[in-house]
């Protein structure tokens, strides 16, 4: 019974169940293989193409992580500026929102024109998708400091710098981590979009090629790998969060259980 309740076993059970439903549905409704392939066909293709898939995962992973890191490195300081200066907020924030309403897929080819077929345009698209949630959430994190806490720090004679790194920054960390989880999954999407429009490597490229060849099992394999990648990156951030913020409300149950 204990093993069923483990946080890893549950989603695996659900996936197994869904695969079962998938398989049954194909048999039951006689769905042709050119519409939806059977799980076993996907598994066979995935096994056969494994070395290629693994090799193509690397550029996608690089673009994703690159875009994500860029999102954090640019998004967090930008959010700090916005949170601390009304003037900067009034100039930058509307522009940011406006930039988000531009469809990234539509401008991605532009980056290929500018930067060629390499890693860079993919990183840019991943960044463009990933950084907005970081900015929005981090601004909120920095602004959500109780005014009594600020007053208290002032009465302690706190310098602005100390106030920042002893109070404001730790206070904003939960919001930053929450936004990083959203950002990393969006960065995966961004990297694949980048590979769609202009690339000769990566899982996005595999996906497009499989699509052109009507190789549905390969397509599904690529999709599975993308999802696994997203989940894995998400889990890494989640673990980092639990290690760094054991005090936060969302992690308290876990620490209480560990006692």
């Amino acid at each position: 019974m204990r093993s069923i309740n483990s946080p890893i076993v549950r989603p695996v059970l659900l996936v197994l169940f869904l695969v079962l439903v998938w398989d049954l549905a194909i048999r039951l409704f006689d769905i042709p293989a050119y519409l939806i392939p059977a799980p076993i066909d996907v598994a066979v293709q995935m096994y056969a193409q494994w070395p290629m898939l693994l090799a193509e995962t690397i550029p996608t992973l690089q673009a994703t992580i690159g875009g994500f890191l860029l999102s954090v490195v640019i998004g967090v300081p930008l959010a700090m500026l916005i949170a601390y200066s009304r003037t900067i907020e009034s100039y930058v924030y509307p522009l940011l929102v406006f930039s988000q309403s531009i469809p990234k897929v539509a401008i991605a080819p532009l980056f290929v024109v500018w930067f060629g077929f390499g890693l860079f345009p993919k990183v840019i698209v991943a960044f463009l998708l990933g950084f907005f949630p970081i900015v929005v959430s981090t601004v909120l994190g920095f602004k959500s400091l109780e005014s009594d806490m600020i007053d208290l720090a002032k009465s302690m004679g706190s310098t602005k710098l100390k106030m920042f790194y002893k109070i404001s920054l730790p206070n904003a960390l939960p919001a930053i981590f929450a936004s990083m989880k959203v950002s990393i999954t969006l960065a995966v999407v961004g990297a694949v979009v980048g590979e769609f429009v202009g690339s000769n490597s990566g899982i996005g490229y595999v996906l497009q090629r499989a699509n052109g060849n009507f190789d549905l099992p390969l397509m599904f394999s690529a999709l599975i790998i993308l999802s696994l990648m997203g989940v894995l990156l998400f889990v890494i951030i989640d673990i980092a969060e639990k290690l760094m913020l054991p005090w936060h409300i969302s992690n308290r149950l876990a620490t209480a259980g560990a006692h």
């Binding site: 007053d151 009465s155 706190s158 100390k162 005090w247």
Partner: protein
């Protein structure tokens, strides 16, 4: 009859002498406006060094605003506000502040929360720690030093925030409804404790409270504020011998004080009973 006489005597004390040699905090016609909204009408009040002064008044009359002005956390709009003869401009640092909520940092355990005071002020680490430990013992928080705020009850969190306010041994203690969230029994214990601390250290205390018995029990003087815009309706000298036992609350003198003060609020009925 006796209570009537007592209140007459108190009324003669309504306006204390303006200039006192040991006056620490002096407000001369201090007002506060938020935009065009008048939060405080001209306030005249002087608080002597080592005096325990409480402020009671209906909700929204400007008590917290008054405390923020004295702490230098908000600028006065008009008048003159002096601390030890000097004009207050900007946040005062020789004060300890306790708010209604404990405002502890969630990522620091209790002793580290108390030591925030020391870190901000660059106090000697070892000295601050041993002083924090003494304060923790005084507040009955031993064994909880390494616990996080959320692992403590509301009353314990508030005691920790009082320890933090006392760590640097400030001259002035400013408290804004520090016991508002506590149950009656814990509150009485904290009152006894606060009196003991004050008797030992003779700090100048400005306490804002909704509880008239609490104000009378603890104070040398009780300032009664009137409805918005806030102004001082009366000031009562509380002439009860120290140290005061909780049983003093049952005395007729105590009852006459609370009754007189409560009469200010009959119309509004906005104050808690203890």
């Amino acid at each position: 009859m006796r209570s009537l006489r007592a209140s007459e005597e108190m009324m003669t004390n309504r306006f204390p002498k303006q200039v006192d040699r040991s006056t620490l905090i002096q407000l001369n016609g201090v007002t506060k406006k938020f935009g065009s909204f008048e939060a405080l009408k001209p306030i005249d009040l002087s608080i002597r060094e080592g005096e325990f002064v409480s402020v009671v008044g209906p909700s929204g009359c400007g008590k917290s605003t008054l405390l923020k002005l004295v702490a230098g956390l908000a600028p006065i709009s008009d008048g003159e506000l002096l601390l030890a003869g000097k004009k207050i401009s900007g946040p005062q640092t020789d004060v300890g502040i306790v708010f209604q909520s404990s405002v502890l940092l969630a990522w620091r355990n209790i002793i580290d929360n108390i030591l925030l005071q020391a870190e901000m002020r660059n106090m000697n680490k070892a000295e601050a720690r041993s002083r924090a430990e003494a304060l923790i013992a005084m507040a009955g928080l031993q064994g909880f030093e390494k616990k996080y705020p959320w692992q403590l009850s509301g009353g314990m969190q508030q005691r920790a925030s009082i320890c933090r306010a006392l760590l640097h041994d400030p001259q002035v203690l400013l408290m804004d409804e520090p016991f508002g969230a506590l149950d009656a029994m814990t509150r009485e214990k904290m009152n006894v404790e606060l009196q003991r601390i004050w008797l030992e250290s003779r700090k100048t205390v400005l306490l804002i409270t909704h509880s008239i018995p609490e104000a009378v029990y603890l104070s040398d003087r009780v300032v009664v504020m009137s409805e918005r815009p806030g102004s001082i309706a009366a000031i009562y000298d509380i002439d009860l011998p120290r140290p005061r036992d909780l049983s003093v609350m049952a005395s007729t003198q105590f009852a006459s004080y609370t009754k007189t003060i409560r009469q200010h609020f009959y119309a509004q009925g906005s104050l808690d009973d203890h």
